[in-house]
């Protein structure tokens, strides 16, 4: 398992691309796991005939979970999200194949001694970007640090 240390990270470095097939089952499993019962995420007839979509589609928290998994692949278990924002441009339908890419755009150690990387991520279908995401992500500053143990005044996301 990868355990990324802050000193190993450079501004501009790119993360490995993740590709994933979004099956109908994946869309439904993700929506139900985060307890989103909107018909848009499990009822193809409703999505197509009532809402005018091509198919059911991935919900917001499911996309967030994809980004979190992507960051885990990069950093290992000690990486911790502090802040995440989204801009969704297009929905991701069942049957599509997504690719997630990202790069480090800023690094910083705050006054509390917490090491942060700011990353820009995209989730795309083919050449079309569906979602843009910015994340403020804490990394272990050395082998003895664990950002997950920070709390209160030592954690300023």
């Amino acid at each position: 398992m990868n355990n990324l240390i802050f000193s190993q990270v450079e501004v501009g470095s790119r993360l490995a691309v993740l590709e994933f097939d979004i099956t109908t089952t994946v869309v439904i499993a993700g929506a139900l796991a985060n307890r989103d019962y909107s018909q848009l995420h499990h009822d193809r007839g409703y999505a197509q005939e009532e809402a005018g979509h091509k198919d059911i589609f991935v919900n917001t928290q499911h996309q967030a979970a994809f980004f979190e998994r992507y960051l885990y692949d990069w950093s290992g278990s000690l990486g911790r999200m502090g802040r995440m924002n989204f801009a969704m441009k297009n929905v991701v339908y069942a049957g599509e194949r997504i690719s997630i890419e990202g790069h480090v755009c800023e690094t910083d150690i705050d006054a509390q001694g917490c090491a942060w990387a700011k990353l820009k991520l995209t989730l795309s279908v083919g050449s079309s970007v569906s979602t843009e995401c910015e994340v403020k992500y804490a990394l272990a500053i050395d082998e003895n640090d664990n950002p997950w143990l920070r709390q209160g005044k030592d954690w300023k996301p």
Binding site: L32, A33, L149
Partner: protein, 173 residues
């Protein structure tokens, strides 16, 4: 048709006043966590192996991105007659302002503390701001910002979802 551009006082009075303060009807739980991790093939052992979680984190924690999961109501409960919606304040505003359609213009989550397996989170919804009437390609309407705040059972702030909505109607507003 509502032709006034003034925000009604019943809406102004909601700003910064917590609404729908409720304790969740579902605990943070490993079954939901594993289903979510399976849906995205997240192999982080902290979410699959209790012993690893206790050794590395000191507790079984939920993925940060699942925050909203722990504040969503069940579809049905024996004590309720009506279905509750996850962000009821937003639907209240749509009704109060006669703006039937809406989109999420942007969305941000800030993660202050991990959600721990077994805990029941408390949530509240707060209208932070409401904008002037605006015309966009979707129609005439207003932007507003609602924060969904999550607290653990010790009243520690776990996280905040910040939604910027644009709600609009078919007619000139």
């Amino acid at each position: 048709m509502n032709t006034s551009t003034a925000v009604p006082p019943e809406v102004i009075n909601l700003i910064d006043i917590p609404q729908y303060c409720v304790i969740s009807d579902i605990e943070v739980n490993t079954a939901s966590i594993r289903t979510m991790c399976a849906a995205v093939q997240n192999s982080n052992p902290v979410y699959w192996d209790r012993d690893v979680a206790l050794e590395k984190m000191g507790a079984q924690l939920a993925p940060a991105s699942m925050l909203a999961t722990w504040g969503r109501p069940e579809l049905w409960a024996p004590s309720r007659d009506e279905e509750l919606r996850a962000l009821q304040l937003h639907f209240d505003l749509k009704e109060l302002l006669n703006l039937p359609f809406s989109i999420v213009a942007s969305f941000e989550t800030v993660f202050y503390a991990p959600a721990v397996v077994g805990d029941l989170l408390r949530t509240q919804q707060v209208l932070k701001s409401i904008g002037e009437t605006k015309k966009t390609r979707l129609g005439s309407g207003r932007f507003w910002t609602i924060e969904m705040e999550y607290f653990d059972s010790t009243d520690q702030l776990v996280g905040v979802d910040i939604f910027n909505f644009f709600a609009y109607g078919n007619q000139e507003y």
